[in-house]
Amino acid sequence: MNTNYQKYSFEDFSRDESFRQWVLNPDNKNDELWKKWISENPDCAENINIAKAFLLTLQQKDVLLNNDDLELITDQIVEESPLIIPFWKNTAYKIAASILVIISIGFFGLKFYFQESDNMTTGKITQNLSSNFVEEENNSTEKKQIILEDGSQITLYKKSKIRYPKQFSTQIREVYLIGQAFFKVTKNPKRPFWVYTNYISTQVLGTSFMVKAFENEKNIKVEVHSGKVSVYRREDLEKAKIQQKNELIGIILTPNQEVDYSITDARLLKSIISQPEVLVENSPNHFNFDETPIKEVFGILEKTYGINIIFDEKNMENCFLNASFSDESLYDKLKLICKITHSTYEIVDAQIIIHSKGC
């Protein structure tokens, strides 16, 4: 037995594990031991009595659940409580948060840019844009229409800014864009129209397209709605200028195509725009396919959207389509066709590739 017990105060006893076991969970064994010890140490009886009363008072009536009840509770918890993963660990939230970060960085970056980099970035491009220019900024929530002296129209989106010379030169039309704008360019093969952004430059060969190049966003996008544009990386253009080369590495875009420039990869990636439009004027709104060979269906879609569809003709020669389409998007149409023909599609280099096991 612990000799120190003789010096214990009632507080000491009430915190002693062995003593507590005896008071709160008595069994024959500890009862016998403590009773024996008390009879041998009658001086301590008072303190022990107080300590015991103290613990029992503090405990009060203890409504104890027995082991079976507790096991039942455990089983219930395990069976009925689904694992909760907090929403901030959820992938969707993560994506949303990162978009928010990019957007807000983009916004602040934009403000910063306006103060700092006017002469840095634009100055490099061309003399025409570093003096005698007009600068339009759209801080409102509405889109802003701008008509240039050559008749070209620019729709400037919010939080965007465009710079253009008061008078275009005779050889070239150049504008500088930060943010997003839609261009409808007056055709003039003798005076090509260029849109510069921070990393890429777009030469307009035809008419209308969208450029989205917010400062500090990781991607820059050019979407073509009609006509043709070619898109170059700025560094390639500058290299070509220095080396006096005529051969340029660019990407030509036709309607319903887009190019994405990822700043991190410094790479241009050609794709199909998110909502391809019907290109053929006066095209029928409805397509009714009655046991139509799949080859014909794809042919019609190719013409309607101006997008190549690549598929294995031999493999799909037994595929026929019964369907009627109206104003679903191109992607919805593709999904439906793929479902019917047990195939899948992917977009590679602005072309649609159909994978099928045959029908």
Binding site: L33, N49, A53, Q59, S81
Partner: protein, 191 residues
């Protein structure tokens, strides 16, 4: 010889907690067996309503189990559980009061640590019964926060930092409360 009981169970608790985080139902079962009744005992000190307290304690374990992948490793599992039960009871009672489900519950901003009732203690020996009467009267003469500190210190056998965590105060306040309580007890203990 008295069996040298109780390895202070802290290491063991931490291991169980880690296993629980990894999804061990056995670890959950062990913690429930070890603490469920102790936690209920604490809960009854605020409300003498067995079903209400049992539900609160069970709910605490449900939440721990559901969120096991993301809960942290507490320094003291026992203090963490007691603190969770305290918060749960406070929240639940506020909710029930607002919903008018339970008119008996009367709380302000904090829980009221109930008075000790000697009638609740069942014991066969006469002399102990008397002492219990005295102890109860003395404890009931203390302010409720001192009563709670005494309960946590002696019945739940906790250290000062654990008590501080449970009652959301600093360690110094716990010491002050304990000192004040003991002063009263010593001054009034006659015999």
């Amino acid at each position: 010889m008295i069996p040298q009981e109780a390895q202070p169970s802290t290491n063991n608790d931490s291991q169980l907690w880690q296993q629980l985080k990894n999804g061990s139902e056995i670890a959950l079962g062990k913690l429930i067996k070890k603490y469920f009744n102790l936690l209920q005992n604490y809960g009854y000190k605020f409300f003498r309503n067995e079903d209400f307290v049992k539900d609160c304690v069970q709910e605490v374990f449900v939440e721990i189990w559901s969120r096991r992948q993301n809960i942290s490793q507490p320094d003291s599992v026992r203090a963490y559980l007691l603190s969770s039960v305290r918060k749960k009871i406070l929240r639940e009672s506020v909710r029930q009061k607002i919903n008018g489900e339970n008119e008996i519950i009367n709380i302000e901003n904090d829980l009221k640590f109930a008075e000790f009732s000697p009638e609740l203690v069942i014991i066969e020996q006469e002399n102990t019964q008397e002492t219990i009467q005295k102890v109860a009267i003395l404890l009931n003469s203390l302010p409720k926060r001192q009563r709670e500190v005494i309960y946590l210190r002696f019945y739940q056998n906790l250290e000062r930092d654990e008590i501080a965590q449970i009652m959301s105060v600093n360690c110094q306040s716990v010491s002050n409360l304990l000192q004040a309580a003991f002063k009263t007890i010593r001054e009034n203990w006659s015999g």
